[in-house]
């Protein structure tokens, strides 16, 4: 047997060399070198994420439309499509290096504290995954016990799970294979039981005990980012997570634009396929990385705003944006994931959390579930900052909510160096009086951009240090070369390219600041409007839960300083992270949580802010730092005064 040529691949900037057979791909070489390269398509050459630069040597590569002319001129290639024919040198650009998002993962996830096998606390949800695998050992039939196979199975399920026979359903295909599976499995079988409203469906029947192999995926289908968590449904452990920007961005930055695009171009099918593709890529990545069989993924729970849920299910979304703002459905029954093209077990189910209305979606019911607002004795405020800012005020007795177009700036979108909370993102920043910039990045690596929490800190710091004034404008008389004027206006250098993880300075521009102020103003105005509507004051709020994809960390004081949150003791405010995915995950693991989300959605009263003149007035007043009316922010007044006097 002829030995294949061995070639060497030298990776930069890592300076690692590996040997492998000629004809293998650069992607495989990187894997061998333990260098992880972005890829969501799993090496199929369709996602275009694994761009690398061929520095020396020769490769064999198919033509691709995923590389631009510029890139091709610069010797960019797709690592997964490039076969190494001789010794080569490959440079992996920063953007291609795989960095795991810093999303809360694992048993320590806060939402996991809400789950229990027995009910010890009213805040606990009973663990009972929406799709369960139950191992059964049936008695084999005799003349004295000659119950039919199907009823024998139901009796065994009933004995083990306490599900009444008339509440179970079995599909025709399962029924057909039942006698064979029972006997070939020697009456030891595992049934996959799925919650389907008032019935439980036997989704699959397998020989032997496969109850350990049951996995689900909880997905936050955000307008800007899509986050997926892989959960072991047998142990309740979160195994892994992955995030990506929502590829629907090509149809518009916000969902209203996407609805308009879809309507004008008859493109709802395309918009739908785009998100399904993103989800399939995320699931595929998670499955491969964790060596899980796709067939063992039996459930997906999705949450997101109402428009996203409509795009996901290809439901008619056009009336969401037109008076009287009618969704096709708020409560969507479980369907087979395969029906909309999600690739998991072909009989696995897709659950979607319910929406409240056109502008308060499943992400909010997920969030309210994750913070257990339905069990709150004290008046609580829940704020979820994504592409929109939704605010819920209430307790276990009542809940009111509203939605403000905050824009995606706190998700890192539309901000010059904004990025989502991933490795290399500045998550914490402080600017001293002498314009020295201290910061911390996720993963403690050179900074590549700023995520939401960093941006909050940044605005607060710029204000405290006097770089910007209360209107958010740069103090142009400043004696520092960090502040500079460009064609597009002023900008402030946070990190010089020398210290940055990218080939450029990391800056914040006047436009960024204006964007961020508008975002925070919308949120503050929404909070004030709800309080006014209920005739309540800020003091009566005992708990504030702040959610969003800010990252792992958020400085509550910064949020108050810039006037996004009302002035209150920071101890009352809790940053709760991505509650959308947390609520989806709780539902995946607990039927009770799923039902709680339904109850919350039914219970919540929606206040419309569109055309609400009070809201508009409040929004205008909030377009300052912290606010035009400093009486509303006494502690910030003091804070800023103290800084000025230093």
């Amino acid at each position: 047997m002829a030995r294949k040529n061995v070639v060497k691949v030298h990776f930069l900037p890592n300076d690692v060399t590996v040997e492998l057979e000629s004809g293998r791909t650069v992607f495989e070489a990187a894997h061998k070198a333990r260098i992880y390269i972005c890829s969501v398509c799993g090496g199929e050459g369709t996602c275009g994420k694994c761009k690398v630069v061929l520095k020396k040597g020769q490769i064999d590569s198919k033509p691709t439309s995923l590389l631009g002319h510029d890139e091709i001129e610069k010797n960019y290639i797709l690592a997964c499509q490039a076969r190494v024919l001789g010794n080569v040198q490959i440079f992996i650009p920063e953007e291609t290096r795989l960095e795991r998002s810093k999303i809360l993962v694992g048993e320590e996830s806060p939402e996991m504290g809400l789950l229990a096998h027995t009910k010890t606390d009213s805040r606990h949800f009973l663990i009972e995954p929406l799709v369960r695998k139950v191992f059964l050992e049936l008695e084999s039939p005799t003349m004295d016990d000659n119950v039919a196979d199907h009823e024998r199975l139901y009796n065994a399920i009933n004995k083990k799970t306490n599900t009444a026979s008339d509440r179970m359903q079995t599909g025709y295909r399962i029924l057909k294979q039942l006698p064979t599976v029972l006997r070939e499995g020697d009456w030891k079988v595992t049934v996959t039981l799925a919650y389907r409203g008032s019935t439980t469906e036997v989704v699959e029947i397998q020989q032997g005990d496969t109850s350990r192999n049951n996995f689900g995926v909880a997905i936050d289908v955000g307008t800007t980012t899509v986050v997926a968590h892989l959960v072991d449904l047998a142990t309740c452990r979160t195994l892994d997570s992955e995030a990506t920007y929502n590829s629907q961005i090509e149809f518009g930055e916000d969902y209203i634009q996407r609805i308009i695009y879809g309507e004008q171009n008859n493109a709802f099918g395309e918009i739908h396929n785009t998100i399904i593709n993103d989800i399939n890529n995320l699931i595929s990545t998670l499955v491969k990385r964790n060596f899980i069989n796709l067939h063992d993924i039996t459930a997906v729970v999705c949450a997101g705003n109402t428009a996203m849920m409509h795009f996901l299910l290809e439901l008619e979304p056009t009336r969401i944006r037109r008076e009287p703002y009618i969704p096709s459905a708020n409560f969507i029954p479980p369907i087979r994931a395969s029906e909309i093209g999600i690739k998991i077990n072909p009989r696995g189910l897709l659950y979607t959390l319910p929406s409240v209305g056109a502008y308060v979606g499943a992400d909010i019911t997920a969030g309210a579930t994750a913070i257990r607002l339905d069990q709150a004795d004290a008046l609580s405020l829940f704020i979820d900052i994504g592409t929109n800012g939704e605010v819920v005020l209430g307790n276990k007795e009542w809940m009111v909510c509203c939605s403000a177009s905050a824009g995606p700036s706190f998700e890192g979108s539309g901000v010059h160096n904004g990025m989502r909370a991933a490795k290399g993102a500045i998550e914490k920043i402080n600017i001293t009086r002498d314009f020295h910039v201290e910061y911390k990045t996720i993963g403690n690596v050179p900074p590549r951009g700023i995520c939401g929490s960093g941006l909050l800190d940044c605005i607060a710091s710029l204000l405290r240090s006097g770089v910007i004034n209360k209107s958010g404008n740069f103090n142009t008389g400043l004696r520092t070369d960090r502040l500079r004027k460009t064609e597009d206006g002023y900008e402030f250098v946070l990190v010089n390219r020398v210290g940055a993880g990218i080939d450029d300075d990391i800056i914040i521009t006047q436009a960024d600041i204006t964007h961020l102020i508008r975002s925070k103003a919308a949120i503050y105005a929404a909070i004030s409007t709800l309080l006014d509507a209920m005739n309540m004051s800020v003091d009566t709020i005992e708990h504030v839960y702040l959610a969003g994809g800010f990252g792992n960390y958020l400085d509550v004081r910064s949020a108050i300083t810039i006037g996004m949150l009302p002035d209150m003791p920071t101890s009352r405010v809790k940053f709760v992270g991505n509650t959308c995915v947390a609520g989806a995950k709780l539902s995946l693991l607990s039927k009770e949580a799923f039902l709680t989300a339904q109850q919350i959605a039914s219970k919540m009263t929606y206040f419309d802010l569109m055309g609400n003149t009070k809201f508009m007035e409040k929004f205008m007043s909030a377009n300052f730092l912290p606010h035009t009316n400093l009486d509303e922010f006494p502690s910030v007044y003091e804070e800023l005064a103290a800084h000025s006097s230093l």
Copy 2:
């Protein structure tokens, strides 16, 4: 435009001539002549039922395997495949003339008396078809009433039908089309609601009021015959019925033979397809004859013995015939009819009534439902004589049942001139002391054979008139040329070919009589065994319900005379006809009836007669007319004594 040639078709024996364009089929010509020809395939040339004889002229016909050599030599052709090219003369043989089976049809059907719109009598079932069409007029949404489309629909359904939202389910496709249908229908829509266990499914949504167009088919899937009733679900009227022999007969006369055939030849798929084909042919015939759109058939309810239900659903049946006799399922959940190839509305449902066990099937639970055994105060005996003879004893408190292999002779099968209860069948017969034969046929036409009720009468008459003795043997010394000896033994001529509607004498043979005696003995022995097991005597039975496809009429006294039924006042015995199709039809029209069948199936206790030595003894003793022990038949003893003395 060239006018096509006009040709003449002269039909015999009707002596009717029609003109039509050359190139049309004989079948079309017959239709034009208002002569109805058998056809179950609807003119596709696949059923072979429309055989006619070409007497004169020329036709163009494709070769077919459905005609035998003999037939081709005799100029038989398939009417639907024969294109008329010139003037022709066509003879329509007796067997090809379409005659509607004399099945109870229409509002006067006895089971209809059990239905009511309001509950006035515990015996009444509330009318609520398993699949309903409900017309809804929804309020169009406004800013003050901005409920989502899906919830708006559910609210309207709830208001009209009192179905809770959490008990409803909607398929993904319906959900997708919902917003469009609602608006294009100007908020006036008709929903098709199907009972699916603990939930109600929205199966279809149509613009406007289509609630009048809702039809169902109730089917008795018998081992020997298949009977279908077409029911208007909006008015509860039975519109029409049709019957056919079960084509599975080619795989074996009884279901045990068919199971063995299927097992040995891996032919369960084929056996399944055969019954599906029969059912589709029946439905197609009913639909065409009544000008109904197939899409408006939304439900099919089937009942039959356990093996037939397994064949129907292609469920593994082999264990039915092997110890410990385990069906795949007794209670089969509703499935889409299209899943097993039944052609109705593609989202229409197939319901099957539940079985008790391997040998007491859905036909019996259907029957017990149709006679309302579940409400009986008095001790009742239900006997269903089909290919098997099943016996149920009980009242509203308890029910016991058993099954005896009676054979299909009372269905006209395996008897020389036996036929099912259709036009031309002798349903009533009397043989005088001087061997004069008086009879009555269904439809009052010349006799073509004898159906079950005629056979009962025939045996009783032969006994009374002394043509046969108590052992069932012909009295060979008889002075009549009606009794004659052939190669195969003795036979008695009931109708001479001159008076018959077929080209032969109508006779009863020694073998026929032996067959019929064995059948009646099995039934009597089954009744005795159940009574013994419960330690009860014949006197305690207040009602006897005798069911089966005997026809429209049955002489109870004849049944007692031959010893099929115990000796008792005939007033206690009621002939109830085909209770299998009646129970299926009640279920189609009343969810309550369907649920009652479930309860009956759960409640009934099965006694196994196989290997039961008491039963065998009783069977042997019953192989006489009326019985070896004449003490059990005092009134018959008297009757026969009186006849002898005449």
